[in-house]
């Protein structure tokens, strides 16, 4: 191909480019740079968070056992804590599934001391099950308590170790 032909092609491409830039400036249209999010994403994200938290607690239990740390009381108590957090996550996921995801349950406060649990199919069993699920602090408080006790034990062991090193 001759040099003359090449320069002609280059000139044509420059012209096309200039026309496209001019068109974009002079004739603007709607741009969708960010994606819109539906309101259900919030509960899905929250549920995934619970599942991730649950998974991490399972990993913790197996890692502590795998390293042989369960021989120490402190780490054993931390394992118990992880177990209760797993139960709590299951509780929370189930509760959120009923009231936020499928909207099968709804609470209506009647007074300071009374409330009404409205289920979509009027099932008293589901209502009672949901009532129990709402008492989730009975799982997460012991979980935190076991964590505290575990850490306390590790502190005692570390202090004893430090004292032993000091006497050597």
């Amino acid at each position: 191909m001759s040099k003359k032909n090449l320069s002609s092609i280059r000139l044509f491409l420059k012209f096309i480019s200039a026309m496209m830039i001019a068109g974009m400036i002079l004739l603007p249209v709607d741009g969708y740079a960010t994606q819109l999010h539906a309101s259900s994403e919030g509960i899905i994200t929250h549920q995934v968070g619970h599942l991730f938290f649950l998974f991490s607690m399972v990993v913790l239990i197996f890692t502590v056992t795998g390293k042989g740390l369960d021989q120490q009381k402190g780490w054993r108590l931390i394992q118990y804590s992880a177990f209760f957090f797993i139960l709590w996550n299951l509780d929370a996921i189930t509760a959120h599934f009923f009231d936020n995801q499928i909207l099968a349950v709804k609470i209506e406060n009647i007074s300071l001391t009374k409330m009404k649990i409205v289920t979509s199919n009027n099932s008293p069993l589901l209502a009672w099950f949901y009532y129990v699920l709402k008492l989730d602090h009975l799982l997460c408080v012991p979980a935190m308590l076991f964590l505290y006790k575990g850490l306390s034990n590790l502190v005692e062991e570390q202090k004893a170790l430090t004292a032993k090193k000091g006497t050597q």
């Binding site: 929250h46 968070g49 998974f55 007074s111 409330m115 008492l135 602090h137 997460c140 570390q158």
Partner: protein, 498 residues
């Protein structure tokens, strides 16, 4: 379903408060752990977890309590407005806890490496401290050990009864021990100043060349026999063992030799062989002499009888008688050489015997130009148990032989000594032409002589040897062309006489 709200409210509010309190207490404990061991990555991890749980507990408690308050105070709309934010914070907080937890395995592995490294570092630090504190002591101990080792090696080198020589790569002597100086006859300075080599001691340079090539090719020599020549021309038989040292710590290549003097041992072996040979010859001579003696007696008797009865053949018969007498003398000498025991033994003063022989011979015409000196032992009397005539005969033979060795003009020294081991020594030394090396082992053989035919029977030294052996003594000879010949007779002293 309508039911009581109190249990849910109570558990929610009290639980939230309890969560916050316990989470804060956990954070406190984790903080203590971190303070107790700031380098422990697992404790740092527990601090992060506790922080995450605290954030989680606080955000959750805040949300729950606020919710209950707003719901009970009929502000449900407000709660709906902020519930999304509260829930989001809550979600983020427990996802954070989960995220931190998921990395526990990695954190643990890092911590194990850190702790292992720290332990090694601490151990190294302790060792370094210990080394630093005891370095001076260790240097002193090592120096003492080195000095002791060097002293031992030096003692072995200096006090070894065998010669030890260290040479450079050109076999020039670098070090030689005291035994080596005694053996070679050179002083240490002389060897080093003259740049003498190990080959300088060899009597035969070809022998040194052979040994040098062997050590060069095989890197060692083992018990190689060689002859050394001392500055006083004394020859010594030695066994040489040696090897190459390629050097360490930058030292140059060198050769090490250990030289053992086996001269006396070899001489002893030769003497034993000589004694065995002479004993065998003695047995043979005794048998021959006995068989010849009787016919000679008969020939002599008949020739003497014929001399009386047939005077016409007198000249012939006298020739027969003379030669028979000569034969009888030879036979008598042979019997003297081989006789087992001496018939007449008495206490004999060696000085007296030697003096008598010297006086007798000094008047002889052959000794006119010979300077004969007698050096008798001046201490106790040198008494032995023996036969005076036989001992005088031995001395006579030795001195006459010495006279022949100096060709009638020279010097003969006769010395008597008392050795430490109750032995009496008679030493006859001349400055004559010496005895050839090849003849030295044969001089005591019967009929061996270097004199012209008719001048000697070759029985003198054999008879002397037989006599001395019968006296439980020993006779030895050393000879060289330059220094002449030395005969040494050793006889056991008579202890009863002293």
């Amino acid at each position: 379903m309508t039911t009581s709200f109190i249990p849910i409210l109570a558990v929610d509010v009290l639980g939230s408060v309890a969560m916050v309190v316990i989470a804060l207490l956990s954070l406190y404990k984790a903080k203590i752990l971190r303070i107790l061991d700031p380098d422990n990555a697992v404790f740092l991890y527990l601090l992060w977890i506790s922080t995450g749980f605290t954030v989680f507990a606080v955000s959750r408690a805040f949300g729950h309590i606020l919710k209950q308050f707003l719901v009970l105070s009929a502000n449900i709309e407000t709660w709906h407005a902020i519930s999304s934010y509260s829930g989001s914070i809550n979600t983020v907080s427990f996802m954070l806890v989960g995220l931190i937890t998921i990395f526990f395995n990695q954190i643990w592995n890092i911590n194990v490496k850190i702790l292992s490294g720290r332990e090694k570092l601490e151990n190294t630090h302790i060792e370094l401290m210990d080394l630093n504190q005891t370095l001076e002591q260790k240097v002193i101990e090592r120096t003492e050990r080195l000095t002791s080792s060097e002293h031992k090696c030096r003692r072995i080198f200096e006090q070894s009864l065998d010669t030890i020589i260290v040479t450079d790569s050109d076999f020039k002597i670098m070090e030689i021990n005291l035994a080596g100086i005694t053996l070679t006859g050179y002083t240490r300075d002389e060897m080093i100043m003259k740049k003498m080599t190990a080959g300088s001691f060899f009597a035969d340079p070809a022998e040194w060349d052979r040994i040098r090539h062997k050590i060069g090719s095989e890197e060692y020599i083992l018990n190689e026999e060689a002859e050394f020549l001392r500055p006083d021309n004394e020859a010594l038989l030695v066994l040489i063992t040696g090897g190459i040292d390629y050097g360490a710590f930058g030292c140059a290549k060198s050769f090490h030799f250990i030289i053992k003097n086996v001269n006396e041992k070899r001489q002893m072996e030769r003497q034993i062989a000589q004694a065995d040979k002479l004993a065998a010859l003695g047995e043979l001579s005794a048998g021959v002499a006995h068989e010849i003696n009787n016919p000679l007696g008969i020939i002599l008797g008949y020739s003497q009888l014929l001399l009386k009865q047939a005077p016409e053949h007198q000249d012939d018969l006298k020739i027969i008688e003379k030669h028979v007498q000569n034969c009888k003398t030879v036979v008598s000498d042979l019997l003297s050489f081989s006789r087992k025991g001496s018939p007449e033994m008495s206490i004999v003063d060696i000085n007296k015997v030697v003096d008598g022989v010297v006086k007798f011979l000094s008047n002889h015409s052959d000794f006119r130009n010979i300077e004969m000196s007698l050096n008798p032992y001046t201490g106790d009397r040198l008494n032995i148990l023996g036969n005076e005539q036989e001992l005088a005969q031995v001395m006579l033979n030795l001195v006459i032989n010495a006279c022949h060795a100096v060709d009638g003009k020279g010097k003969i020294d006769i010395t008597t000594e008392k050795a430490k081991d109750e032995k009496i020594l008679i030493i006859v030394k001349d400055n004559g032409k010496g005895i050839d090396k090849k003849n030295l082992t044969r001089i005591f053989d019967p009929f061996f002589t270097t004199k012209p035919v008719g001048q000697g029977t070759g029985l003198g030294l054999s008879v002397g040897y037989g006599i001395i052996k019968r006296h439980n003594g020993d006779i030895r000879v050393t000879s060289s062309k330059e220094n002449g010949t030395v005969f040494t007779i050793s006889l056991p002293a008579d202890r009863t006489a002293t």
